[in-house]
């Protein structure tokens, strides 16, 4: 296990990344996402938190993505389908997790097996949707800030109107 020490003597242990090699292809992603969202906070110790985060990124780069990539680039149709179905599910819930594989989607679209193409298509659509949503969220945030500033009188009306317009155009 990988051990992180807290100042007060406490410890946090995470599974070695080598062990993840034999995992089903999409599981590392889930793990990373799980720790990052659920557990990180509970560690309280900043040093530990930082250490864990780095470790998670490490896992992402060394294990999760490479595995996914060589699966997707591999010739094994079932494995690809399997991976894509898992990825499709993830894309619906936690799209951020699988962002790195976005670039590989388009050469998958070219493949013959319809199943793969459809899956890849839906995933890329989700990506698109997610980006848009993020964009939208960003825009809305800016708009809200602008609104606060405008109410406080720090900025003029039209800067707020511009932000609001951008947000609305994106929304449709």
């Amino acid at each position: 296990m990988r051990i992180f020490r807290k100042k007060n003597g406490g410890i946090v242990q995470l599974i070695d990344k080598e062990k993840m090699q034999e995992w089903p292809v999409e599981l590392p992603l889930i793990f990373i996402e799980y720790i990052r969202n659920k557990k990180l906070e509970s560690y309280e110790d900043i040093k530990v938190k930082k250490g864990v985060e780095n470790y998670l990124d490490e896992i992402m780069e060394d294990i999760a993505i490479p595995r996914l990539i060589n699966v997707l680039e591999g010739s094994d149709v079932e494995e690809i389908i399997l991976a894509l179905t898992r990825l499709e599910q993830l894309s619906r819930k936690k799209i951020e997790m699988i962002r790195p594989i976005k670039s590989y989607l388009n050469n998958l679209l070219k493949l013959k097996t319809t199943k793969i193409v459809t899956l890849a298509q839906t995933i890329s659509d989700n990506f698109a949707k997610a980006d848009r949503k993020k964009e939208l969220a960003k825009k809305r945030k800016i708009m809200q800030e602008k609104e606060k500033q405008f109410l406080a009188g720090k900025i003029g009306g039209e800067e707020y109107a511009k932000a609001r317009k951008e947000y609305l155009t994106l929304k449709e």
């Binding site: 296990m1 990988r2 051990i3 070695d16 080598e18």
Partner: protein
């Protein structure tokens, strides 16, 4: 009305007394009454038959003897059947009677008109002989003969050849006036008829027949069935009391031409009143007796008379018994043996068993003159020397009592006071009376001289002194004897007996002293002439003469012994120790006869020729010699000059042995249906495949094979006859036979297991308090693997017959009904020993059976599991990548495993195989990784658990010392109880401490055998392993499984010591025809060819099995070259070489 002068006590006759008290002898109403009738007359019948045969056997060339040699093809008797047709023809005379019969539902044959009328008439008549019209008598006689013939017709053709007793019990029509009695107590009227072709009665005896005769047998006892002589007469009186019917008797002895028939009543005055006066009539049988009588009794049920007859048949296999019961059922017990038992001699009374009364009777009756010959004649175990000793003792005692001493050449009286007169008498040559020649005359002198008197008195004084001591010692002995009876513990008894012995020795000394004094007295009065005054005319002369006669008891005639003489004779008689009585007066049935009877009677399955099998160990050797000789002769025939070197190099291969053996075995056509021939041959071949040098215990496999296949469901029968002993001066012999067989079924009541016999007659009543039952109860049956009823009689599918025969039993009956023996310590001990001997044999039989059963159960249990086991193995092999995947097939595997059951596994030595776990391909090192957090450490610390080379332990070859072929193997040893083993140890002087357990005793005994064999070279322990034919598979090589090392060197086996078979129990063989080789050779003749039938006849073979065995023996003899054989007219004939 008794007049005064006759006095109150009237002298009644025994008949008068017994007539009313027949129940004393067992004739009271009840089921047992049937048996009592049957027992009474059947005993007499069998005695008669036996005495006839013995009488004839004693004659030189008796032609009318029972021949006993042809087989009895009685088939089913038709006595009863034709009896029924006959009945139809008789007219039914009286309507009333017939309705009564129908009412009672009894099918009756009608009485003749004349007979019923006759009975009424009798009532009023006085006792005198009834003179009736001649034809009536004629008629009656004709009817009696008719009944007789009807009974005998079916056996008529063998009536004179075969000993037969026929008993018929049938319901006969009750006389009218008895109907009142009949109806309430379901009492029926029974006709009892019995016929035997025994000696029959002489005419003169015939007259006395039926009277109460105080049986003459009470003194001169013989081993006969009937004894007290009350039997028949009481039966007659009971018959008459209950039915008012006369008794019909016909008897003919071989000597007279005609039989005499008579019909009579016995009267209370012990006379006979004849309806039909004994008249001559000719009859179909040469000799025999027929009796018919009627009696009333409760309804006949089974289990009494039929059981009695069945058990009688067990003990009397030499006589055919036929019984027809009231329901018309016919049971025939055929004669099973071909010879009569030996005739028991009359048991002359043994001195120790004579009481004072008997001696007086004998003396009064005896016509013998001299006392010593009287003693020798009337008593057994009294030789002339002993007779002389008795007389001598008696005379000494007499002289003391009469105070009149016998000197060498005269007599002298013995005075008690000094002042009495002393007389001396002696015979001197004088002339007196008419004759001139000097003759001995008794001269009486009076002793006068003082000096003589003093000398005399001095001697007499201590003579009297001795007499006093003598008397005193006698009293002591009496007191001691009394104490012996009362004393309880054995130790006390022994102590007292020792005392008595010393006293007896003292008495002898006293007697010697007295003799010495007498001799001194003689010296004193020798050639003394003065001091003696001859008394010529003296009144007391006659007294003296009587005194002289009386004192010389040796000259006295037994008949006129005076009282004094008698007393001292009896005293002397009792004080001498006599040899035990001769035992030829008690004749047992014989154990082989008992066994054969039971086998044939109950139909036990015993395979005949077990014994033969045990013997021919050397035969196998012989076969080898025979083959070698044949080979030698063949070579010599070719070129006679061949040298010996080649000759003795000839070896016999196993094939040749198999050929010869199987040739022998095949032509014994196995009678047994359930053994299939080839299985037998094949297994024998398998066993006999070993050639000469093989160990001989393979032979035992053949024997065991035979045992298992042939005797598996055998029954067990074993008889034991004890050597005769004696009690109360009379000999007796105890024997018992026990049959154990499944189809006998365990009887519910303890009574049905044990059948008691006395002198071959079954004793059914008073079982509980009979000595035999007590003896059987005293045996610890658990010791012989038999449970017991709560009264300790053995329980199981068994039949136990115990027979005590011999004159002794007559004294031992508890009551007149003669059905229970009194307790006698030695008798009970004798029976106990007899039963224990049988028990031991039974135990061995049951142990062997249990083992067989166990191995069978073992085999079946294993066989049951095989299919399931193989199914699992098959599924695994076919599913996975097993090397046998293609080849494995369920059926083949199952057969292989089934065949292996029962086979002795090749004796592997239990070894500690090294701990190499079965590994796949190459033994991959197995890591127990200990992971540690630092990433870089992972690569470096390739911790591997190195596979230690576990050095295979030195294979401890378990040395199994080959125990020397001990005489008795451990298996048989633990067949014996601890007590027996201890006895064996003392016999063989093997040290064991008293409280040793059974296991240690056996160990000690087997050690003692091993110690003996130490001096030989220690045998090579490992038996040669059957080398697995298949090449050791490559896979095993590769997996380094420790190879099972081939034994270093198979040392040549020392020549096998022939196992000395334990001594075969000597069978005390009676007349049963045993087919031994000597007897066969004897019977064969040199000149004429004899067919098998001649041999069977000459060897008196009766039994098919014996005939078959004869054939086998003949073949063997032929093989041995002692006999020639050729077939004439398709029949084989044999001749001596």
């Amino acid at each position: 009305m008794t007049t005064n002068d006759e006095g109150k006590i009237k002298q009644g006759t025994i008949a008068q007394f017994m007539r009313k008290r027949t129940q004393l002898v067992g004739f009271e109403f009840g089921h047992w009454k049937h048996t009592q009738y049957c027992a009474e007359f059947l005993d007499n019948a069998l005695d008669a038959i036996e005495s006839f045969q013995w009488m004839e056997l004693n004659k030189k060339d008796s032609k009318i003897m029972f021949s006993l040699d042809q087989d009895l093809f009685l088939g089913s008797l038709t006595i009863l059947k034709n009896e029924k047709q006959l009945e139809k023809s008789l007219p039914l005379s009286n309507e009333g009677k017939r309705t009564l019969m129908l009412e009672l539902g009894i099918e009756q044959f009608e009485l003749k008109e004349s007979e019923t009328h006759l009975i009424e008439e009798k009532e009023e008549k006085s006792q005198k002989v009834v003179d009736k019209k001649h034809e009536e008598v004629e008629e009656e006689v004709k009817k009696i003969i008719n009944d007789l013939e009807e009974l005998i017709k079916p056996v008529e053709y063998i009536i004179d050849l075969e000993p037969i007793a026929i008993i018929r019990l049938s319901e006969s029509e009750a006389a009218s006036f008895l109907t009142s009695e009949l109806s309430q107590k379901n009492i029926m009227n029974y006709a009892f008829e019995i016929f035997d072709n025994g000696t029959g009665m002489l005419k003169v005896d015939f007259k006395k027949f039926g009277k109460y005769l105080a049986s003459s047998k009470s003194i001169e006892l013989k081993q006969t069935r009937g004894s007290q002589g009350f039997g028949a007469p009481s039966a007659f009186s009971d018959a008459q009391n209950t039915t008012g019917r006369p008794i019909i008797a016909i008897s003919k002895s071989a000597e007279n031409i005609y039989a005499t028939v008579s019909e009579f009543f016995t009267t209370s005055k012990n006379e006979k009143k004849y309806i039909v006066y004994p008249t001559d009539v000719d009859c179909p049988f040469l000799h025999g007796t027929y009796i018919k009588l009627n009696y009333l009794n409760v309804k006949y049920i089974r289990g009494y008379v039929d059981k009695f007859i069945e058990e009688t048949a067990y003990m009397n296999p030499h006589i055919t018994l036929i019984y027809i019961d009231p329901n018309g059922e016919e049971t025939i017990y055929k004669r099973l043996v071909s010879s009569f038992p030996k005739e028991p001699k009359f048991a002359k009374p043994h001195p120790s068993s004579i009481n004072i009364g008997d001696l007086q009777d004998l003396l009064a009756k005896s016509e013998i003159n001299s006392l010593s010959s009287f003693l020798k004649e009337n008593f057994v175990r009294i030789s002339s020397k002993i007779a002389q000793k008795i007389i001598d003792l008696a005379s000494k005692d007499l002289q003391d009592n009469l105070n009149f001493l016998i000197l060498k050449n005269g007599f002298i009286n013995k005075i008690s006071k000094k002042s009495d007169l002393i007389y001396l008498l002696c015979y001197e040559k004088r002339i007196f009376g008419k004759s001139k020649k000097p003759r001995d005359k008794l001269i009486i002198y009076k002793v006068d001289s003082e000096d003589l008197k003093n000398k005399y008195w001095e001697l007499i004084l201590n003579y009297n002194q001795f007499k006093e001591n003598h008397k005193k010692i006698n009293n002591d002995i009496k007191k001691f004897n009394y104490r012996v009876e009362k004393s309880k513990t054995l130790k006390e008894i022994k102590f007292i007996e020792k005392e008595i012995k010393n006293l007896l020795i003292k008495i002898d000394e006293i007697r010697k002293e007295k003799e010495i004094i007498k001799i001194k007295l003689e010296k004193v009065f020798e050639n003394v002439n003065e001091g003696l005054i001859e008394l010529k005319k003296i009144k007391k002369r006659t007294d003296f003469e009587d005194l002289v006669n009386e004192v010389e008891i040796s000259k006295a005639k037994p008949i006129d012994l005076t009282k004094n003489q008698y007393n001292s004779l009896f005293l002397a008689f009792k004080s001498i120790k006599y040899m035990t009585p001769p035992t030829d007066t008690a004749i047992p049935v014989g154990d082989t006869v008992l066994e054969n009877t039971l086998i044939k009677e109950i139909g036990l399955k015993i395979s005949e020729n077990i014994e033969d099998f045990a013997a021919p160990v050397d035969d196998i050797y012989k076969i080898i010699d025979i083959i070698r000789d044949e080979k030698k002769n063949a070579i010599i025939r070719e070129d006679p000059t061949v040298n010996d070197l080649i000759l003795n190099k000839i070896s016999v291969s196993s094939e040749e042995i198999i050929d010869l053996n199987s040739k022998i075995l095949t032509n014994i056509d196995l009678m047994d249906k359930n053994v299939n021939i080839n299985e037998f041959k094949q297994s024998v071949e398998k066993i006999l495949t070993f050639s000469e040098e093989e160990l001989k215990d393979n032979y035992n496999d053949v024997f065991e094979f035979f045992l298992i296949n042939y005797t598996k469901d055998d029954d067990f029968v074993s008889a034991e006859t004890r050597p005769p002993t004696s009690g109360k001066g009379l000999a007796y012999v105890v024997e018992a036979v026990l049959a154990y067989s499944k189809n006998l079924g365990t009887p519910k009541r303890a009574r049905d297991v044990l059948s008691r016999f006395v002198n071959r007659t079954p004793k059914l009543r008073d079982t509980a308090d009979c000595a035999i039952t007590k003896a059987v109860q005293s045996v610890n049956w658990k010791n012989y693997k038999l449970e017991t009823y709560d009264n300790n009689l053995p329980k199981g599918p068994i039949k136990l017959l115990v027979n005590v025969s011999g004159p002794f039993v007559h004294l031992m009956f508890k009551s007149q009904s003669k059905s229970a023996l009194a307790d006698d310590e030695n008798l009970i001990k004798e029976i106990k020993f007899c039963l224990e001997a049988i028990g031991r044999k039974l135990r061995i039989f049951l142990n062997r059976k249990a083992n067989m059963y166990k191995s069978e159960k073992r085999a079946s249990l294993i066989e049951k599991h095989i299919p399931q086991f193989i199914k699992s193995v098959y599924n695994i092999a076919s599913r996975g990548e097993s090397i046998y995947k293609a080849r494995v097939n369920e059926k083949e595997l199952i057969d292989l495993m089934k065949k292996a059951i029962g086979q002795k596994p090749p004796s592997f030595i239990k070894r500690e195989i090294s701990q190499e776990p079965p590994e796949i391909a190459s033994p991959k090192p197995i890591e127990i990784k200990e992971e540690y957090v630092k990433k870089e450490d992972l690569q470096k610390k390739e911790f591997a658990v190195k596979k230690e080379k576990i050095i295979p332990k030195k294979e401890p070859v378990v040395k199994k010392p080959e125990p020397d072929k001990e005489f008795i193997s451990v298996k048989t040893l633990n067949n014996y109880t601890v007590k027996e083993l201890k006895e064996y140890c003392n016999e063989k002087k093997i040290k064991i401490h008293s409280k040793i357990t059974k296991v240690n005793v056996i160990k000690k005994i087997s050690e003692s055998f091993e110690k003996k064999s130490k001096l030989e070279i220690v045998k090579e322990p490992i038996r040669p392993l059957p080398v697995t034919s298949r090449a050791i598979s490559v896979k095993k090589q590769q997996l380094k499984i420790a190879k099972i090392k081939a034994p270093a060197s198979t040392k040549p086996k020392p020549s096998p010591k022939p196992r000395v078979t334990p001594p075969k129990p000597k069978t005390t063989q009676t007349q049963l025809p045993i087919i031994t080789t000597e007897r066969i050779l004897e019977v064969l003749s040199k000149e004429e060819w004899q067919a098998i039938t001649h041999l069977i006849f000459k060897l008196k073979i009766k039994d098919m099995m014996d005939a078959r065995f004869l054939q086998i023996k003949l073949k063997e003899l032929l093989r041995k070259g002692l006999v020639l054989e050729n077939t004439i007219k398709t029949k084989k004939h044999w001749k001596l070489k």
